[in-house]
Structure formats: structure tokens, C-alpha cells
């Protein structure tokens, strides 16, 4: 069968071992990129001609917002794979994603509100990006709530996978409906990301932060997946070998 390599690749012992070995290869570049991005964003990048130094929140807000979407998509894809091919490792990936995504969604919300505060004169404005982000947080919370409502891990995996897929179909619909709604009621958002006229000294640190956050997510995922894989295994012999001190 053409699928056997796939299954071998995704077999719990293999994943456990490879994930362990791969983690530093993602974690250290992530650390380097993030530190470089922080220096670039906080020190080297020039102030914005309109928003002055306040725009520097961009360097943490944008990667957080990016993470919230990336993680949700990853979670839904993994959930779909797990559901269709009944693959435990894929469910382990989906289960690992939710808390990471939810926490970065919170970060995106807080940083977004702090960014907007001086511009709007209030900490909360029904800005479409922030509103979508808030709804995304509820989607994450619903997913985690559903997952924790089941005692049986397998059923939790499969039921929440359906929710993740339904959610990922809905995320763009929700986003565009919120943008549509906002365009009727308010002036467009203050936050312009990725303007074409952004100078390289501003843009490069942003890219570094985005890449660093993505790698960081990868590293977190690997650590979490190892744990989730272990808790999904019913005392197979490989665990004994893998955990031998």
C-alpha cells in the first residue's frame, strides 16, 4: 500500500522519538529570530510618521494574531486527518494546538487593545480585526470546553475534530461578515499592516518576528505532541524503552 510509509511515519514511537530530536532545531532558531526581531523592532526600526513609537506594538501584535489563525488552521487540518484516517498522532497534534492558539489569541487581543488605546482614546473599540479575534477566542474556548467535557480521550478527540473542521469553515465567513458589519458602522481600522510603503528597517524585524513565532509554535507543538502521544498510548512496550532513564 502506498500509505504504509505514511503510517509508519506517523506511528507513535516514531513521532515521539523524532519530535524529541527535532525540538531544539526549532526552538533555538526561534529564540534567535525573536531576539533579533525584538532588537530590530524596538531599537533599530524608525518611528512611524503617524503613530510615532506607539506602532512598535505591531511587532508583538501581528505575530500573535498570525499565530491565532495559523494554530487554528493547523488544528483543523490535524483534526481532519485524525478523523478521516483515524490517526492518533494527528489527534494529538490537534489537542496540542488549542491551548497554544487560545493563549496567543489572548495576547493578540490585549496587545491590540493596548495599541488602539492611545489612538482611539479607549481600550476597546469594535474594530473588525479585534472583534474577529475575540470570536476566534470563543471558538478556541468552545473547542477546549468540548474536549474537556468527555472522559474518554478518543471520543473527545473525534468529537472536537468535527468542531474544529466546522470552525475552520466558519472562520472566513465570520471574518468577512464582521468586516462587512464594521464597514457599515464605523471608519475603517486604524491598524494598517503590511503597507506597501513600509521601509525595510520596519518590515524586516516584523518578518523575523513572524518567522520566529512560527518556529516557536513548531517547537511548542513538538513538546506537547510528545506528551499527548504518551497519554494516548496504552502502555505499549515502546514506552518502556523510550522512557528508560
Amino acid at each position: 500500500m502506498a500509505w504504509t510509509w505514511f503510517h509508519r511515519l506517523a506511528s507513535p514511537p516514531h513521532v515521539y522519538r523524532v519530535a524529541g530530536r527535532l525540538t531544539p532545531w526549532l526552538a533555538w532558531p526561534a529564540a534567535v529570530l525573536i531576539v533579533a526581531g525584538l532588537i530590530g523592532g524596538l531599537v533599530l526600526a524608525p518611528p512611524d510618521y503617524q503613530q510615532g513609537e506607539g506602532y512598535r506594538i505591531l511587532y508583538v501584535h501581528a505575530p500573535s494574531a498570525w499565530m491565532s489563525l495559523l494554530v487554528y488552521t493547523t488544528m483543523a487540518v490535524a483534526a481532519g486527518v485524525g478523523l478521516i484516517w483515524r490517526m492518533k498522532v494527528a489527534h494529538a497534534v490537534a489537542a496540542s494546538c488549542a491551548p497554544i492558539g487560545a493563549s496567543f489569541t489572548v495576547a493578540a487581543l490585549v496587545t491590540g487593545s493596548l495599541w488602539g488605546a492611545p489612538m482611539w482614546g479607549t481600550y476597546w473599540q469594535w474594530d473588525p480585526r479585534l472583534t474577529s479575534e475575540l470570536i476566534l477566542l470563543f471558538l478556541y474556548l468552545g473547542y477546549m470546553g468540548l474536549r474537556s467535557a468527555f472522559d474518554d480521550l478518543q471520543r473527545a478527540d473525534r468529537v472536537s475534530a468535527v468542531l474544529a473542521i466546522v470552525g475552520v469553515v466558519n472562520v472566513p465567513i465570520i471574518h468577512y461578515s464582521v468586516v462587512w458589519w464594521n464597514s457599515l458602522h464605523q471608519a475603517p481600522s486604524l491598524m494598517r499592516l503590511g503597507k506597501p510603503d513600509m521601509p525595510a528597517s520596519m518590515f524586516v524585524p516584523l518578518l523575523m518576528m513572524l518567522a520566529g513565532f512560527t518556529l516557536f509554535f513548531g517547537a511548542l507543538l513538538l513538546v506537547r505532541v510528545r506528551g499527548e502521544v504518551l497519554s494516548r498510548e496504552r502502555a505499549a512496550t515502546w514506552i518502556r524503552e523510550a522512557l528508560r532513564p
Binding site: R86, D151, D152, L153, Q154, R234
Partner: protein, 210 residues
């Protein structure tokens, strides 16, 4: 060799960390009934639900007529009748209405057939009462009437004699007898020996708790 054959090969199933079905094997052919016994929690219901495709075995496979039941689930389901713990009846509808909707989702039911099936289980005088007013045994009998109406070769019965009096238990035995004589296959989880006539190809299997 008869045509019909339900076969379980090395079936494994976990519930959480509990290994419920541990390599179960069975084979039931046309005209045979497999009687499952075992203590509570031994996995009788789980085995029945796995055999009908509701639960997914993590190891092994269930085949019907030589094909994995998951290959064409709809076709397989069209050939089986499953009676669970609870008779699938609505308290607000009469027994007759219940049967009409329940069986009607699967196959067309004629009025006379319904009458005959209800008569067979001794339900002619309560067939038009709301199920709410029926006793547990009468509900069970109504469910048995539904079973006979489905005209399917494979019966999967979970505690079919629960709540039934002696007459009712005999009735279950007679129904299974007839089903087997007609060449059907039956799998029944029971606490007491089924009252089927001997020499009918009754197999027994006992499941154990881990």
C-alpha cells in the same frame, strides 16, 4: 456452506484505558444463534455494538458474508436489526405508531403486517395505547414486533428477555427459533439461557471481565 456468516476476527476495543474486547473471535452462520453471556461490564453490549458497526474496533475486523462490514455500511445495516437495552419507542405515540415510524424508516410496512406482528407478540389489545401507559414488558414485546417486521437476516439482540414474563421469554425463544429455521443469523447478549429449542445450532460464548 451457507451464505450468511457474521464473523469477528481478533476484535480489540478499548474504552478509555479499559481493554473491553480482548481479541474476541466468533463466527455465526445462517441458522445459528450465538448466545453471549458474561458478567456486567464484560463487554456484551460493546461486542454487539461493534458487530453492528456502531463502535469501531481498534484491532481486528468484523465481516459479513466475507466482506468487512465497513466496506458498505449502508448495505450491511439494511440487513440487520439491532435491539438495544431500551426499546426505541416514544412515550407519546401508541405502540402501533411507534412501529410504523421505526420500521418505516427502513422498509415499507403494510397495515396487515403490523397487525399480524403485534398480534404475534400478544399486543392486539394494547397496540393503540400510548406507550407511556404500557408496562416495561409490553414495551419489550412491541420492540420484538418491530424486529419481526424488519425482515432482515441478521438479528443483534441486547438482553431481549429483560422485563419479560415466562410467556414472553418463551416468545423470544420461539421468534429466534423461527428466525434460525428460516436461515437467519442471530447474536444475543443474555443473562439467562435463551428458551430456544435444542439442536438449533445455538453457540455459547462467555465474555470475561478483565
Amino acid at each position: 456452506m451457507p451464505d450468511l456468516c457474521l464473523k469477528g476476527e481478533n476484535v480489540h476495543l478499548w474504552r478509555g484505558d479499559h481493554h473491553v474486547l480482548r481479541g474476541v473471535r466468533f463466527q455465526v452462520e445462517g441458522g445459528e444463534c450465538l448466545q453471549l453471556t458474561g458478567a456486567n461490564g464484560a463487554g456484551k453490549t460493546t461486542l454487539l455494538r461493534t458487530a453492528c458497526g456502531l463502535a469501531y474496533p481498534e484491532g481486528g475486523e468484523i465481516t459479513w458474508c466475507g466482506e468487512n462490514i465497513r466496506k458498505d455500511m449502508h448495505a450491511f445495516h439494511a440487513q440487520l436489526a439491532y435491539l438495544g437495552h431500551e426499546p426505541p419507542l416514544k412515550a407519546e405515540l401508541t405502540a402501533r405508531e411507534n412501529l410504523y415510524y421505526w420500521v418505516g424508516v427502513r422498509c415499507r410496512v403494510e397495515r396487515q403486517e403490523l397487525d399480524r406482528a403485534l398480534e404475534r407478540v400478544g399486543g392486539d389489545h394494547w397496540a393503540d395505547r400510548p406507550v407511556r401507559t404500557l408496562s416495561a414488558g409490553q414495551k419489550r414485546r412491541a420492540a420484538l414486533a418491530g424486529l419481526t417486521l424488519m425482515r432482515v437476516p441478521l438479528w443483534l439482540l441486547d438482553e431481549p428477555t429483560t422485563n419479560l414474563d415466562v410467556e414472553g421469554q418463551k416468545l423470544v425463544g420461539a421468534l429466534i427459533d423461527e428466525h434460525l429455521q428460516a436461515g437467519g443469523v442471530a447474536l444475543a447478549a443474555v443473562h439467562h439461557e435463551l428458551a430456544v429449542s435444542t439442536g438449533q445450532g445455538l453457540q455459547r460464548m462467555e465474555l470475561t471481565v478483565e
